[in-house]
């Protein structure tokens, strides 16, 4: 049934529908409401799980490593500084091949202190071995939650995953959403049957010492598992669509790209605003379309090549910056196309940093810039821009 709900409540309810055995979360703005709703579900008896109160994000993920290794389905959620504090534990979870699922609420990283949204936090853990999917709206976060359990727990994958959602913009919005039916969730998400479990009767070691003769092989196997996830993400999306009637296009989604000369590439909640901007610009005769990245890790190289091959110009819009060299999605996309015959100019825009609002006006300006690149070609100064900087600072 569709009804208006707060984003955080809707996400907590989607988690409830996945029946986690152990939930361990530490509250931090703007993720706090998710924690509050989950603990309320547990207190009300609506969610039967072990709910662990912890002292930090480091502890929340560490406790889930133990729980997951013992065969439990596990959940956590964090944001920004919390994710940063988890950094070494993220690598432990993925290295031990534990299918933990996390809702990463996207927020800027200090300093200066900012509680507002950008995506520096999740881009900062890009290489941690976790599967990373980005959602456009609350419904997509909800729908991805059981899908991520299905993907992470697959014996061929066994990799933790996170769905990234923009802080405040999606956690605090009230909008109509379709609540998940726990019985239907069971159809796409079978009970967790772990391949390896900690068991006193059959002792095993997880995450033990690996000397140089074995470490490379562990990384290789992780790398191969994420490659296999490329296929599974699309399959599970289709399966979800057959069961729930909502599909999202798999690894990427496209919007009005068929005859597009200017292709915008982006991810997260800004995609909704871009779609409205594309409609407006199309009315003015500007051939612009959108490629929405859903899966960032694994990175859908082949799918992207196909989606970008006919564009005259590509503009990447993302809410992160790699101080010292451009930004993460931009350089990944350029890398994906370099060894191909696709020679489309690509420019990048780091926008919406630290909660700076990105409205229709800003998207128009980015399209104007991309248009200029289409006509005049790409120069170093137009290749990458930290967008919307106060002129006094330039």
């Amino acid at each position: 049934m569709m009804r208006v709900a707060e984003g955080s409540y809707a996400i907590a309810d989607a988690v409830r529908c996945c029946s986690p055995d152990v939930v361990s979360v530490y509250p931090i703005t703007p993720q706090t409401h998710i924690v509050e709703h989950l603990s309320q579900f547990v207190a009300n008896g609506e969610l039967d799980c072990e709910y662990i109160n912890v002292d930090s994000e480091f502890s929340s993920l560490s406790s889930l490593i133990g729980a997951s290794a013992a065969g439990a389905r596990t959940y956590t959620s964090t944001t920004s500084q919390g994710l940063a504090l988890m950094f070494e534990v993220l690598y432990n979870a993925s290295g031990m091949r534990l299918p933990i699922v996390m809702t990463t609420v996207n927020r800027a990283l200090s300093a200066p202190l900012s509680i507002w949204n950008d995506q520096q936090d999740s881009f900062g853990v890009r290489d941690s071995g976790w599967i990373q999917l980005y959602a456009e709206n609350v419904q997509e976060v909800m729908d991805l939650t059981p899908q991520l359990y299905r993907i992470s727990e697959d014996p061929e994958i066994l990799t933790p995953s996170m769905v990234c959602m923009d802080g405040y913009i999606l956690t605090h919005v009230y909008e109509p959403v379709e609540f998940l039916d726990p019985e239907l969730v069971k159809e796409i998400l079978p009970p967790f049957s772990p391949v390896n479990v900690l068991d006193p009767e059959d002792p095993k070691t997880f995450g033990a010492f690996a000397d140089p003769s074995w470490f490379t092989e562990f990384r290789y196997l992780q790398y191969k598992a994420q490659e296999r996830a490329l296929d599974l993400i699309g399959k599970v999306d289709k399966q979800f669509e057959e069961t729930f009637g909502r599909g999202y296009g798999g690894l990427i989604d496209t919007y009005r790209t068929d005859d597009a000369e200017i292709l915008l590439v982006s991810l997260g909640s800004i995609v909704g605003t871009i779609k409205d901007a594309v409609d407006e610009l199309r009315k003015e005769g500007i051939k612009v379309g959108l490629v929405k990245i859903r899966s960032y890790r694994p990175f859908p190289v082949e799918t992207l090549k196909e989606a970008l091959k006919d564009a005259s110009v590509v503009a990447v819009i993302e809410k992160d910056v790699s101080v010292g060299y451009q930004s993460a999605l931009l350089t990944d996309i350029k890398g994906a196309l370099y060894n191909t015959s696709i020679r489309v100019p690509i420019s990048g825009f780091a926008a919406g940093l630290g909660g700076r609002d990105v409205a229709m006006k800003q998207i128009r300006k980015i399209v104007e810039n991309a248009s200029r690149v289409k006509d005049e070609g790409l120069e170093l100064e137009t290749e990458f821009e930290i967008f919307d900087v106060n002129p006094e600072c330039l």
Partner: protein, 179 residues
């Protein structure tokens, strides 16, 4: 699509009012969206919240710069915030005040609707919390949301005697601006 901006002070329930607009609009079979101007608001500090109502699913997620309607819960905000900023000329601004609109010094071509919501709230609720009363004024002045749908949204949030009192406040405001 209709876009609404709400101005209040921390603790006056502007965010709750925006949420109630979203819930009531959905009752009217419309799509809706409500969100606060995210901040670290303290009690008494100027705050903003936003709502959108549309016939199609709402995709845009930016703040609202050119609203169709503006609700001002506290007239003292006029001294510190450009509350009418960006208001469409054919829009409406609803202000809680006992002063005549000509004396407010508002710079807008749009219609100004004044209502002494504080007095209504004191009479009906016994407290000067005007967010629901102003929703009654909004429904009456704009007819964007049916009063019954707003009432249903209110009862979903405030139960028992408090819910009933809020309905009376809303209906009083609705009648007053409808005259």
């Amino acid at each position: 699509m209709k876009e609404i901006r709400l101005h209040g002070r921390g603790g006056q329930g502007a965010v709750t009012a925006a949420e109630l607009i979203a819930i009531a609009a959905f009752e009217d079979k419309k799509f809706s969206q409500a969100f606060p101007a995210f901040g670290v608001e303290r009690r008494g500090a100027p705050v903003m919240a936003f709502a959108r109502i549309a016939d199609q699913p709402i995709r845009v997620r930016s703040q609202i710069y050119e609203p169709d309607y503006i609700i001002v819960q506290d007239v003292t905000l006029l001294e510190v915030v450009d509350v009418a900023g960006g208001l469409k000329p054919d829009g409406k601004i609803m202000i809680n005040t006992d002063r005549p609109k000509e004396k407010l010094g508002l710079d807008t071509e749009a219609e100004i609707v004044t209502i002494d919501a504080t007095m209504i709230a004191l009479e009906e609720l016994g407290r000067p919390i005007v967010n629901t009363t102003m929703l009654g004024a909004f429904c009456g002045a704009t007819r964007e949301i049916r009063l019954e749908s707003m009432n249903k949204a209110i009862l979903g949030r405030f139960t028992g005697a408090l819910g009933e009192k809020n309905l009376k406040a809303i209906e009083t405001a609705y009648e007053r601006v409808s005259q």
